[in-house]
């Protein structure tokens, strides 16, 4: 006898995720047979503000698209406008941008590990990871003065230099963070109880990951080596790093990729501190932007596209942002098919959803 289908609504408010995403789970007994996601609960119209704030002030708005990848959003907008205006920032500015970008990535990935631990119910692991995240936030605060929104980005460079003493003081901090994450890594990647919640849960094949247009660690966990940092924006062309992938394609693989990326970010930061040249951080800008540009950068959650269209006026005409979460939602719906209802929160967390930046 065929089992009866029923619909279980997940969200918009759900304890596992503080952000509003709604998914209709069509279930047969305890199995999800289909998932229908819907978004649109926190649209704030930030893109439209570009016509109300002048192009310099818009940097502050762009940073506020998201609280976790705030630096990346500021960078994406600035990068597009700098290309339109033909400005080349100094090497030091590029290195500091790279360094702050990687600190944000560490912050985001460690935060994600905590949320993941929370999703599978390991509260002490959640608190332990967030303890290490606090160190990253402290470093960001030392460098920029802000913990969440940094307000250090500016067209033509940076608004404030980060002195070498502060940069040097990051080295021992990075060691401590790495040591702490290594202790947590054992719990995430080899604890039998944790493995039972991760291994084989939410499998996504390489082909599906490509055809559904996934981004970031979610894509790399399915064995696709694609990382926009390899395009060499900011100072990424001057530092050494590899693309981290995993062939598992399941929640375990996503955990593995993100943990390894934390170590990789630490290594990139060390290289930046070692190689950073001593020079100015700001190139003056003249006139108004005129033209259009589209840029793709690698946010902690994956590739984010920024499109800017300006027409030589104080106000830019159009700005458009495509965030990685938006690209990952179709694949999320795919991975949810056939999973247990109890695994749904874990799978939603594995794409590292950021709904506020998806809807802006």
């Amino acid at each position: 006898m065929a089992s009866k289908r029923s619909v279980i609504p997940f969200g918009p408010q759900h304890p596992v995720l503080p952000e509003p995403i709604h998914i209709d789970l069509i279930t047969e007994d305890e199995k999800v047979v289909e998932a229908v996601p819907s978004i649109g609960f926190v649209h704030r119209g930030l893109e439209h503000l570009v016509t109300k704030k002048d192009f310099g002030e818009m940097v502050y708005v762009a940073e506020r698209i998201c609280g976790i990848c705030s630096f990346g959003h500021g960078y994406g907008y600035v990068n597009a406008v700098e290309h339109i205006m033909g400005i080349e920032p100094t090497q030091r500015a590029k290195y500091i941008r790279t360094l702050l970008f990687e600190l944000s990535r560490m912050h985001s990935h460690i935060l994600w590990l905590g949320l993941m631990a929370d999703a599978f119910g390991f509260e002490s692991l959640f608190m332990e990871t967030w303890k290490h995240r606090e160190r990253v936030l402290d470093m960001l605060e030392w460098a920029t003065g802000g913990r969440v929104i940094f307000s250090i980005m500016r067209l033509g460079g940076l608004r404030k230099d980060v002195p070498d003493e502060i940069l040097k003081s990051f080295l021992p901090e990075l060691d401590k963070i790495e040591e702490g994450i290594r202790a947590c890594e054992k719990a995430f990647l080899s604890d039998p109880a944790v493995l039972s919640r991760l291994k084989g849960v939410g499998y996504l094949s390489k082909e599906d990951a490509i055809s559904l247009g996934c981004e970031g660690p979610f894509l790399r966990a399915s064995g696709v080596a694609r990382d926009n940092r390899m395009r060499g924006y900011a100072a990424y062309k001057d530092v050494d790093f590899d693309i981290i992938t995993s062939d598992d394609g399941d929640s375990y693989g996503r955990c593995y990729v993100r943990i390894q990326e934390i170590y990789q970010s630490a290594s990139i930061i060390r290289q930046c501190i070692e190689k950073i040249p001593d020079e100015g951080i700001y190139v003056p800008i003249k006139g108004f932007p005129n033209g259009e540009y589209m840029t793709v950068i690698e946010q902690p959650r994956g590739g984010a596209c920024y499109y800017v269209h300006a027409s030589g006026k104080k106000f830019i005409e159009r700005m458009r942002v495509r965030t990685p979460t938006f690209a990952n939602i179709p694949a999320l719906a795919k991975t949810l098919q056939g999973c247990d209802v109890a695994d749904v929160p874990i799978l939603v967390v594995t794409i590292d959803p950021c709904i506020s930046c998806t809807e802006r």
């Binding site: 704030k53 002048d54 310099g56 002030e57 940097v59 502050y60 002490s124 692991l125 332990e128 303890k131 606090e134 402290d138 605060e141 030392w142 460098a143 920029t144 003065g145 802000g146 929104i149 307000s151 500016r154 067209l155 033509g156 608004r159 404030k160 502060i166 202790a183 947590c184 054992k186 719990a187 080899s190 604890d191 039998p192 003056p284 800008i285 003249k286």
Partner: protein, 170 residues
């Protein structure tokens, strides 16, 4: 055994002092670089309104008539743009966060008496200079010469500084 791995960390944590601060029982600690809130030194402010124009959230209002400088702390996003653009270096960023409140308060700073006197003195001297220039010009006119070049220099120099700071957008 993989089981024991995290147990070790947990046991260690049990005997360490807490990683969190006991706020509000103890005072909150801030970094030297923390952007907390804006303070204005009313001994040096000249009410030139540059900060008002540069503030992206329009949190600052300068009232020249009443000689006050007002900030709405709940609109301020602590971006530090006003501090960077103040020609008199009158503004600074204090590291403590804005204190909580139940209404959207405004903080009004009145010019200090000393600065009021200094500005009045400045205005008086500027007026004197203008009057003197006027006098000289009248004389010149009377003498039949038409040389108007010197007059403009006595105008306030603050407005020029505003223009100078305008390339510092963002």
């Amino acid at each position: 055994m993989s089981f024991v791995n995290f147990t070790k960390t947990e046991l260690k944590n049990l005997f360490k002092k807490p990683a969190t601060e006991k706020y509000p029982e103890g005072p909150a600690t801030y970094k030297e670089t923390t952007r907390g809130h804006i303070v204005n030194n009313m001994d040096t402010c000249v009410l030139c309104s540059v900060c008002q124009m540069r503030c992206p959230t329009r949190a600052i209002t300068v009232d020249r008539k009443a000689q006050t400088w007002t900030i709405r702390p709940f609109s301020c996003i602590q971006c530090r743009r006003c501090v960077d653009n103040c020609p008199k270096k009158s503004l600074s960023m204090a590291k403590e966060y804005t204190e909580p409140d139940v209404t959207r308060t405004e903080k009004v700073f009145a010019l200090s008496d000393r600065q009021k006197a200094a500005l009045a003195e400045q205005a008086r001297r500027a007026a004197e200079r203008a009057a003197a220039a006027m006098e000289a010009k009248k004389k010149e006119m009377a003498e039949g010469k038409k040389d108007e070049t010197k007059k403009d220099e006595t105008k306030k120099d603050e407005t020029k500084k505003e223009d100078g700071a305008s390339d510092q957008t963002s």
